[in-house]
């Protein structure tokens, strides 16, 4: 039915975690990339679930993750009184 997904559609990382299986067995699974944390359902359209069809503008790289800004910035600890 669905070709097995072996890489993250968004960042092409090859380690995926199985998060959840459809309550009706065999219909879909929820997978997550352990690097970019993209999470999707295997039954979604190819544009969301297959690397070769995943839009260029939504792709993410390891460098993007490294460069992601903190929101909000972690504040300094209060000085012990």
């Amino acid at each position: 039915m669905h070709e097995p997904t072996t890489v993250c559609p968004r960042c092409a990382h090859d380690t995926l975690e199985h998060v959840h299986a459809s309550p009706v067995p065999g219909i879909w699974d929820v997978l997550q990339c352990v690097r970019c944390l993209y999470m999707w359902r295997t039954s979604e359209p190819a544009r969301r679930s297959r690397r070769d069809a995943y839009p260029e503008s939504f792709r993410m790289t390891g460098d993007d993750i490294e460069a992601a800004g903190e929101v909000p910035v972690v504040p300094p600890l209060r000085a012990a009184s």
Binding site: I27, W28, L37, M39, P55, M60, E70, P72, V74
Partner: protein, 474 residues
């Protein structure tokens, strides 16, 4: 009668013909989000959507677009569904006069029937989560009322907060939350992180429709959302104590998720299609550890689609953005007649006002920029005369067409704060703001060649009623 929970409101919508049940089997993606994307295109009386036949699920119940039209917004406030937007805002203003109405503690909340704790927690077992837009980084919870307290002053119920924030599902018991610096929960988190602590939170899903409206109202820091809900409902908001954190949560919720925002931790989040109609992210944002989920038997998952306006999000944050701005302006300038801040949470604000003297309208426009909400949002302010209805965009366009001379009516102020999600900013969080004076110059301001304005004939109002009655009889 006010509704004490989502189910009561869905029944009311059903009786009014404002709930569309989709009984054919649908795919979780992209069908449900696409239907919710489409629903507001049906117009100002668009219905809520209810799905209970979703591929792969055995007992999914998903409600979308519950606040997604002026008709549904009116019913949420207990008004006739035909009530025009401007009158809903006026009624909201009148009811706010009753604020604060203390909430009522109520026993035996229906969400206490079922519990998952500790390592048994799995949000996927409780909620039929679905993904919204193509570029979203994952499954989101974006219509939950999140409760937290000020860690420096936890007994102060005014400083407690109930707000709606974007929440990404990161795992079975792991979430991410976006605390926009302009919002109260960001102050709570900052205090907790300065103290080196986690911030306890209760995330409540599937609430009565007024709790959702109050939770998305930009109130002042020390104003309590439940006390506004009471004023809007005309009866105290029923609340109960969340079992793990002790936080006050709605009695009628479908699901209550408790845990902590883990202090001083950030992790990649997003992107997510936001209320601006643009994606934001991925950024490194705070993480929530879920410790307990309490839920009704067969809970209904209420979810919200947002994208290119207008979507449900825009209906939910139209009236409740305009009202606090109106009240704050009116307090200083009684000449203000009406405020329309319905566009993208008030990134554009339209104000109608009488003029005390020449230049007055510009002062009113500048004041919008320094209101608590305007500080982070209002980017373009349009000021119109008192006889122009800011909710009537053709009239506003007429004012821009004839009352505004760019030579003297455009005031630009550089480098003011704006919510980081605003895509037009020079760099995220900083933008130039614009006040447009589209009022008729008065007093010492003698610009233009206005002469006499054409006014409605004195008999026009009577004829409008007469024509409406004739048209109704056809």
């Amino acid at each position: 009668m006010p509704h004490d929970d989502l189910r009561g409101f869905l029944d009311a919508l059903d009786k009014e013909g404002q709930l569309l049940r989709v009984t054919d089997e649908v795919r979780p993606e992209p069908d449900i989000a696409a239907a919710a994307n489409a629903a507001p295109r049906l117009g100002d009386a668009a219905p809520a959507l209810y799905f209970d036949n979703v591929s792969g699920f055995t007992s999914a119940r998903i409600a979308m677009n519950v606040h997604g039209s002026w008709a549904n917004h009116a019913l949420a406030l207990g008004l006739p569904k035909e009530t025009p937007a401007k009158e809903q805002v006026a009624e909201f203003i009148r009811r706010w006069e009753r604020f604060p109405v203390a909430p009522e503690w109520r026993e035996d909340p229906p969400w206490a029937r079922n519990t998952l704790e500790g390592d048994d927690v799995d949000v996927f077992r409780v909620l039929p989560l679905i993904r919204l837009n193509d570029g979203d980084g994952g499954f989101y919870i974006d219509k939950a009322a999140v409760v937290s307290k000020d860690p420096d002053d936890p007994e102060n119920s005014g400083k407690q907060n109930v707000g709606i924030y974007r929440i990404e599902v990161k795992g079975r018991r792991r979430l991410a939350l976006q605390p926009v610096p302009m919002h109260d929960i960001a102050l709570h988190l900052r205090t907790a992180e300065e103290r080196g602590e986690d911030l306890p939170v209760a995330i409540t899903l599937g609430n009565d429709p007024v709790v959702t409206i109050a939770a998305s109202t930009p109130m002042k820091y020390e104003e309590n959302e439940y006390e506004l809900a009471g004023a809007l409902r005309g009866a105290p908001a029923p609340i109960a104590e969340a079992p793990l954190t002790g936080l006050p949560v709605p009695w009628g919720s479908e699901v209550v998720i408790e845990g902590v925002i883990e202090g001083r931790k950030r992790e990649i989040e997003g992107p997510f299609g936001e209320f601006t109609g643009h994606y934001s992210g991925g950024r490194s944002m705070p993480v929530i550890r879920i410790d307990r989920i309490s839920y009704r038997t067969d809970p209904i998952f209420e979810h919200l689609y947002l994208g290119m306006p207008w979507t449900e999000c825009d209906y939910l944050i139209a009236a409740n953005t305009a009202v606090p701005l109106y009240k704050q302006l009116k307090a200083d300038f009684p000449e203000v007649q009406a405020v329309n801040a319905s566009y993208t949470h008030g990134l554009v604000v339209i104000v109608s006002t009488k003029k005390r003297y020449g230049g007055f309208a510009k002062a009113v426009g500048l004041r919008v920029l320094t209101t608590p909400h305007g500080l982070g949002y209002a980017t373009t302010v349009i000021v119109v005369d008192e006889d122009v209805d800011p909710f009537n965009l053709p009239q506003v366009m007429w004012a821009l067409s004839t009352k505004m001379n760019p030579a003297g009516d455009l005031i630009t102020i550089p480098n003011l704060p704006v919510v980081e999600l605003a895509p037009q900013a020079q760099s995220p969080g900083i933008v130039d703001k614009l006040v447009i004076d589209a009022t008729t110059p008065v007093g010492a301001d003698r610009r233009g060649n206005y002469g006499n304005q054409v006014r409605d004939l004195p008999e026009t109002a009577e004829w409008l009623s007469r024509l409406q009655a004739l048209a109704a009889r056809r």
